[in-house]
Symmetry: C2
Subunit: 184 residues, 2 copies
Amino acid sequence: MTLNDRRQQILTAALATLREHGSAGFTQARVAARAGVRQSHLTYYFGTRLALLQAVARLAVDGQLAAIDSVFAGPSRTSVAKALANVTVRHESTRVLMALVQAADQEPSLRALCRELAEGIAERTEGFVKRLNVLATREHAHLLHALSVGLAVVDLATQRPNSKRRAAAMLDTTFSLMTSKARS
Amino acid sequence: MTLNDRRQQILTAALATLREHGSAGFTQARVAARAGVRQSHLTYYFGTRLALLQAVARLAVDGQLAAIDSVFAGPSRTSVAKALANVTVRHESTRVLMALVQAADQEPSLRALCRELAEGIAERTEGFVKRLNVLATREHAHLLHALSVGLAVVDLATQRPNSKRRAAAMLDTTFSLMTSKARS
DNA sequence: GTCTATAGATAGATAGAC
DNA sequence: GTCTATCTATCTATAGAC
């Protein structure tokens, strides 16, 4: 199917553009150039910029959830912290995340997707935390999610060295705190 | 001084615009309309859009640090968690934060300001955490900072009810975890 | 020195050719 | 049905009037 091929081709280029240039750099011209098509083709295949963004966001969310899935298979608490930091504290992922957040702020239709992502991550996290500590709650999972988001955003803003190492350390510390104490 | 008055007037309008509309809605036309001046005046008084954004960011960072200052004066752990959530988990603040992060990602000159903000908050947080637990480290303070950033971003993205209450609960939980256990 | 009118660039969307 | 050329809107920056 040529139509779906083209759509896929544009989607891939769009996601790559978002990862590299973030929300502000996500222009139809740039995506089109990357996909090797004319700008007006984006309109043809997706209608509006928002529709394209929604499709890209869908792709990104699925990808991120799939990446998270493998994180919690790690052998130890520390290795999981490291894997989680590696998946979440990535400038490329953070740019996509921020674009999604911004778009959701102004476009309610995207909020459901954001909730799906947040819930999906919390769900996957909860299982792991429960293995650490049977008294762990969904709140702990949401807390970890928020923490990883914050670490990612702060890192993009400050761009300091060793950010992944430090993020992994903080996640591990938090796991550790949750392990040693259960508190309602 | 008329010049400084005008600058101030424009700055105020610019900050308000950023708080309401976020990074994408931060256009010279909108700021000018709000300030009651012509768009070209922004160029006259600030040179470029980036320079204006830098000035606004400076203002916003100072304001946020000042707001944080009063947070840790709270009487109890729980009241501090609540106050912190009230200051950080605000859509208006989060929009400014996100705009700053995005700008810093592409404009290295703004990263110093982001680091200043992050360090400033961590510093102020550290004192409080140390009062909770003498073994607390700067890492705990950075962890709390990242957590509050993440809570703010997640809330802007999902816009769920009771977000401030839940954020306060998570911060309080984290304080509690840090209190009951010190771990290097 | 302050402000206006306008230019130049780029965004996204449309109408119509093939 | 697929693609091209074009159009309008909007953004930021400049040149020059007062």
